[in-house]
């Protein structure tokens, strides 16, 4: 089998706080193949954003630290890299799009200047060439009249347009992997669909892989090939998208899928959406054994005995539950 583009092995990103060590990411293993979209889903505080930021080493150390694990980018471990080397990986090999398009652009520069920032940071580029590159990128992310918009400032753009600019910024160096950290959460539904469509379009055009971080199962179903479900700092289930929705094996995944509103026949007769009781536990006070045991309907004494490992439960389908 071909070597995966990105292979995260047993990553632990911990934060030293006054109250104790917060194990935000506690042994995550994920891999992304060339040209594939991997969705990482989970509630707020499940560690998905920390995982994403760990890849580009955007975690401030201290208070954070890489306690264990490897992040193999095309076979090369990113964890021990120094600032200068990681700068070279950022943007050129792995691009990133953030959640908040309203505040992710620098208010004092034109969007054109910001799009070509990554290019100009590493190589000298004539003003004309930079301007042309910026216009080309704006056209690619389907901003109308890019020749005029290139010299506009961020406050002259709407939220959806700004997210398009952010995508243009991340893609200007043609990275092989794009990490999109909840790229549509701050946008309204119609704009969400447009942005996701744009991402899919860009993915096909550049043949890049996407790591799509989201908490919306609907977004996952429509955009990903493979899904990893995260809970309290670990991956609890990982499978092909169709397999995951058809046969969810982990009780947490089952709960997530049941809590999606449906319009098809299965929903008839049900009056109330199901929910998972409780909320994500404080990472300083995890229950013993399985992290989900205190909210799980199926939990037994065995669940508290030891933490279940992620294991193969079907071909190409992994889950971390002793009953899966």
């Amino acid at each position: 089998m071909e070597r995966p583009l990105l292979d995260i092995i047993g990553l632990k990103t911990w934060f030293d706080t006054d109250e104790g060590v917060v194990r935000a990411v506690d042994g995550v293993s994920l891999s992304i193949n060339r040209g594939e979209t991997l969705a990482v889903v989970g509630e707020s505080g499940s560690g998905k954003t920390v995982t994403a930021r760990s890849i580009l080493k955007l975690i401030d150390t201290p208070p954070g630290r890489y306690a264990a694990g490897q992040i193999l980018w095309q076979g090369r471990d990113l964890v021990p890299l120094g600032p200068r080397d990681i700068d070279r990986v950022r943007a050129r090999e792995i691009g990133m799009v953030f959640q908040e398009p309203m505040t992710s652009l620098n208010p004092v520069y034109t969007v054109g200047a910001q799009i070509t920032e990554a290019l100009r940071a590493h190589e000298s580029l004539s003003r004309k060439a930079a301007n042309d590159a910026a216009i080309e990128m704006l056209r690619l992310v389907q901003i109308p009249t890019p020749e005029r918009r290139v010299n506009d400032y961020p406050h002259q753009f709407s939220g959806g347009m700004r997210q398009r600019v952010m995508i243009a910024m991340a893609l200007v160096c043609k990275p092989k992997l794009l990490i999109a950290d909840e790229p549509t959460t701050a946008l309204d539904v119609t704009i969400q669909a447009q942005i996701l469509e744009l991402l899919a379009d860009m993915k096909d055009r550049f043949g890049m892989a996407i790591m799509l971080i989201t908490h919306a199962m609907g977004v996952v179903a429509e955009n990903a090939q493979r899904v990893a479900v995260m809970y309290a700092g670990v991956v609890v289930e990982e499978a092909d998208v169709d397999e995951l929705f058809a046969n969810p094996r982990h009780p947490y995944t089952q709960g997530l899928i049941r809590s999606i509103p449906r319009v098809d026949t299965k929903a008839i007769g049900r009056t109330r959406l199901e929910q998972i009781p409780g909320s994500v536990p404080n990472l300083l006070e995890l229950p013993p054994g399985c992290r989900f045991s205190n909210r799980c309907r199926m939990a037994t004494a065995d669940c508290h005995a030891s933490e279940p490992a992620l294991r193969l439960v079907a071909p190409d389908h992994k889950a971390a539950c002793i009953y899966a």
């Binding site: 955007l58 691009g95 505040t103």
Partner: protein, 318 residues
């Protein structure tokens, strides 16, 4: 055609041209253009800016128009009140006050601007390092800032002046040496507020998402600070720097008034005031003109600072 009035000409203008004009009047403004638009709404600031520019103009071209030497002693015209030959009157040696004030204005304003530059550059350096560095360096630098703030400034000024005055005067010549010394002293004791301001700005800006985004796009630490954080922190610094010019002019006047600044043959505004203080009842004009010049300059600069504060208010950007 020749007889048509401007009003009728605009009536003949095609609608498209009028629409275009309307667009030109409100172009999609850059941050600077936007700031200038807001600044113009501040009437006092605009008037102050004009007054200050007029004074700068007088100081700059004055010596070429008013060709009376500043050190021409004329005992027949001692302490004469303003007249046509001496519009601002004369001092106790019969020297022309207008010529002396034009000359002194150059030094006073130059000291003000140079001291402001020293204070702002030092403040930005200390504040930026403090705001971006880790806890320990930050704590150390802020401790140093607090220490400088708690130093009794006037005795320190006197001490430094006595210690280095002659050495610098010997090295650079009397006038240049004193200028450098006074600028360094005034600026070197005024950088603390700027440093605190810059640090506070950096602490909030470095958590902003666009800084994170720039980092994710491979910007190095230096590039982050210089290109992404600093330009966003400059608004309050410019306002503080403006007021700093006024403070420095006052400080130089104070030093000169105490007889510690420039020697009598270099007539800065403060120095003229110092010489005039013994003759207040017999020759009030002698003190009045330099006093008014200092007052007007400082007031104008402070109003301009007010206008800039409104124009560059960070809350209205972005």
């Amino acid at each position: 055609m020749a007889g048509s009035t401007p009003a009728s000409r605009s009536a003949e203008m095609p609608a498209a041209v009028i629409a275009e004009r309307a667009l030109v009047r409100h172009p999609p403004a850059s941050p600077l253009g936007e700031a200038w638009r807001r600044f113009r709404k501040h009437r006092l600031a605009v008037v102050s800016l004009m007054i200050l520019l007029a004074m700068v103009l007088v100081i700059a071209v004055g010596p070429f128009v008013w060709r009376v030497p500043i050190d021409e002693i004329d005992f027949s015209a001692q302490l004469s009140p303003p007249s046509f030959t001496h519009p601002f009157g004369t001092d106790d040696l019969g020297q022309d006050l207008l010529a002396r004030m034009i000359y002194g204005g150059r030094i006073s304003l130059a000291v003000g601007i140079a001291a402001m530059m020293v204070a702002v550059i030092m403040g930005i350096l200390v504040g930026a390092v403090s705001g971006i560095a880790g806890r320990r360096l930050d704590a150390g630098l802020m401790w140093m800032t607090d220490m400088f703030l708690s130093l009794p400034q006037l005795p320190l000024l006197l001490l430094v002046l006595y210690l280095f005055r002659n050495a610098l005067a010997k090295a650079l010549g009397l006038e240049a040496g004193l200028f450098v010394l006074i600028v360094l002293i005034i600026g070197g004791l005024r950088w603390m507020p700027v440093a605190r301001l810059v640090r506070a700005q950096f602490l909030s800006l470095r958590e902003k998402e666009f800084v994170e985004a720039a980092r994710a796009l491979g910007a190095s630490r230096i590039r982050l600070v210089v290109r992404h954080i600093l330009p966003n922190a400059m608004g309050p610094v410019i306002v503080a720097g403006t007021v700093e010019v006024a403070t420095a002019i006052i400080a130089e006047s104070t030093l000169s008034f105490l007889g510690l600044g420039f020697p009598p043959d270099i007539p800065t505004w403060g120095r003229i005031l110092f010489s005039a203080k013994d003759q207040l009842d017999s020759a009030p004009h002698w003190a009045l003109f330099p006093g008014a010049a200092i007052f007007l300059t400082v007031l104008s600069i402070n109003f301009i600072g007010d206008g800039l504060r409104d124009a560059l208010d960070a809350r209205r950007v972005g």
